[in-house]
């Protein structure tokens, strides 16, 4: 039984964008999807898009080119990119260890990876600050070496690594577990060293998943607020993140200004994600076509 009358013949095959699928009721499914997306995403986003224009184009431009705003955006996105890059390597390593080796306590470690998902990010921020503050257990010896982490951009990166890590691990791990071991054995019989096998065989197979994970970690980190504000020190131009600036503007009842910074963040995040997704799509298509 179909919920919709069969479409009238319009001269063009309609199958082009509608593939047969096991999900019943395409009109209903698409209807719910679009309604839901509108309520949850499009409505708030369009408010965000409309609000800054109260200032006019020049007003918007003045807000986003303010040195303090520019510095905050640079710190937010720079630290997020750095953290996502570090997480790419670190997350890959952890996923590798968790899926390829069995060791006592593996399940516990596996569960620990999800902790940043569950923990209130403020708690994580406070804990990291306590540890890395100049009087903290790790911060004190580091301070003697002249390395300061808390209340510097370094601290921001650290907090962002913490919140982004599970995204990379959890996207790479299942793909790594599914990877056919025979493929690695084939590479070995063909004369490849373990390093060549890792670089030429395993990593390319993981690349699409890794990129997805890095993209998620980056997006999450760019907008992160709770954990960062505790460890960042929040000095304007130096360690002040864009989301904090939005809160500050809100507290000053500068709603249009806050929305302007928000819109700038949205545009930057969207561009970054679009680039990563395009690259991911190209990589993934090669193996499937």
């Amino acid at each position: 039984m179909s919920l919709a009358p069969s479409p009238p013949f319009t001269g063009r095959p309609r199958r082009a964008w509608r593939k047969d699928s096991v999900l019943p009721g395409f009109p209903l499914a698409l209807g719910i999807t679009l309604t839901w997306l509108s309520l949850i995403f499009l409505l708030p986003l369009s408010a965000l898009l409309l609000r800054p224009w109260e200032l006019g184009l020049s007003g918007f431009w003045t807000v986003v080119t303010d040195p303090r705003v520019l510095a905050a955006l640079r710190i937010s996105f720079g630290a997020a990119a750095l953290a996502a890059t570090i997480n790419a390597g670190l997350g890959l390593l952890i996923a590798w260890v968790l899926s390829r080796y069995t060791f006592p306590g593996r399940r516990v470690v596996d569960a620990l990876v999800d902790l940043p998902f569950a923990l209130p990010t403020a708690v994580a921020g406070i804990a990291l600050t306590a540890i890395y503050a100049p009087n903290g257990p790790l911060g004190a010896p580091l301070a003697e070496l002249g390395i300061r982490i808390a209340y510097t951009p370094l601290g921001i990166v650290l907090a962002l690594i913490f919140v982004g890590l599970p995204f990379v691990v959890r996207t790479v791990q299942p793909v790594l577990e599914d990877l056919d071991r025979e493929v690695e054995e084939a590479a070995r019989t063909l004369g490849a060293t373990p390093r060549q096998t890792a670089w030429r065989v395993v990593l390319p197979a993981l690349a699409p998943a890794l990129l997805t994970g890095v993209g998620l970690a980056f997006a999450r980190a760019a907008g992160e607020y709770g954990s960062v504000i505790f460890i960042a020190g929040n000095m304007p131009l130096r360690s002040e993140i864009a989301p904090l600036l939005i809160v500050i503007k809100l507290e000053q009842f500068d709603y249009a200004g806050a929305a302007s910074v928000g819109l700038a963040m949205l545009a930057l995040s969207f561009t970054g994600l679009l680039l990563l997704n395009t690259l991911q799509g190209v990589l993934a298509r090669r193996g499937r076509a």
Partner: protein, 341 residues
């Protein structure tokens, strides 16, 4: 170069995958490892490839001790059951892989590699498909890419694990003849694993039959069929029937039928094995193993009857007069084998 396997054993936990296997293969020989699943044939292949380290035993190849060499250094081409192609690489990149990973000193130039790839593509009849990705190929084509990739490193020996296992019957038959031709052209010592007796018997110079990690028999296909070394081998390599019997005082008794035992038959319980094509169906008063016709299939002028002998069935050609279900008959094997039970 000849291959010599001596007393190789490999255990996985409590399970003995290989239990003292000794086997030789001549240079250029096409050898089949045949056995039911779990008989250890794939483990033996993996030991040869260097992917599994045996607990004991010796593997020599052309005077070299293979076990001291890493899989990487053995230059033994292996074709995996599920092909194990690199899915993110094109067909040409897959084939070139083994050459490209060589250290710079021994790596052929870009032009040489591409020439070699073209040559292999035409050898496996995939000209013009070098730019495709494995996902765009059929099963039979992937199989051939896997073979070309293994041949690219100019292997000293070729190993194939269930090379036709995942293909449909028609493609299997085509590829079979083609594989034999490739073997004859390259002259490589080739060892392939299969659980399909017909494939092994059709293709191989010699067949090694494995059971529970032990070698039951190594012989030419003819010898294996005509003179199976054990009741297991008889059962595995063709259709036939096996009935328990007894040899005592020069007389063989099977299902109540008494006949002079063959010369040299040892007294004691035996398994009598015979095949339908070597057996005559006779009326019930004649000499032979008592049996009953269950069903008859007529095709052209011939009738093929399925008979029941003590709970086991045998299919054989039946004379018109006896070809009716339910009839009691005698089966007289023109030749049979006795193995101690």
């Amino acid at each position: 170069m000849s291959l010599s396997i001596e007393n190789v054993a490999k255990r996985f936990g409590d399970h003995a995958a290989l239990d003292g296997v000794s086997l030789e293969a001549r240079q250029g020989e096409f050898l089949a490892l045949l056995g039911p699943s779990g008989s250890g044939k794939t483990t033996l292949l993996r030991v040869l490839a260097g992917l599994e380290r045996p607990d004991q035993g010796m593997v020599r190849f052309g005077g070299e001790d293979l076990l001291t060499m890493d899989a990487r250094a053995r230059r033994i081409g292996m074709v995996f059951q599920h092909y194990a192609l690199f899915r993110h690489m094109s067909v040409a990149q897959n084939i070139a892989f083994g050459l490209q990973v060589r250290p710079a000193k021994t790596r052929p130039s870009r032009a040489e590699i591409s020439d070699r790839v073209e040559g292999l593509l035409s050898l496996v009849q995939l000209e013009g498909l070098g730019g495709r990705y494995p996902a765009q190929l059929s099963g039979g084509q992937r199989q051939r890419v896997a073979l070309a990739r293994a041949l690219a490193i100019e292997p000293r020996m070729l190993l194939l694990d269930e090379p036709f296992g995942a293909l449909d019957a028609k493609v299997r038959r085509d590829l079979r003849g083609w594989l034999r031709r490739i073997h004859d052209e390259t002259g490589l010592t080739t060892i392939f694993v299969t659980h399909d007796q017909e494939e092994a018997m059709d293709l191989a110079d010699r067949v090694a039959i494995l059971r529970d990690g032990r070698l039951e028999q190594v012989d030419t296909p003819e010898q294996i069929y005509e003179a199976p070394a054990s009741a297991f081998v008889f059962d595995f390599v063709g259709d036939g029937v096996q009935a328990p019997g007894e040899v005592a005082g020069g007389v063989l008794t099977v299902e109540g039928w008494r006949t002079p035992a063959p010369v040299g038959a040892l007294p004691g319980p035996v398994t009598m094995s015979f095949r339908g094509e070597n057996t005559d169906m006779l009326p019930p008063h004649a000499e032979g193993v008592p049996a009953r016709v269950i069903s008859v299939l007529r095709r052209g002028g011939l009738s093929r009857a399925t008979c029941e002998i003590g709970g086991r069935t045998l299919v054989l050609e039946a004379p018109q007069s006896l070809a009716a279900p339910g009839i009691e008959v005698r089966l007289a094997p023109r030749s049979y084998l006795l193995h101690p039970r």
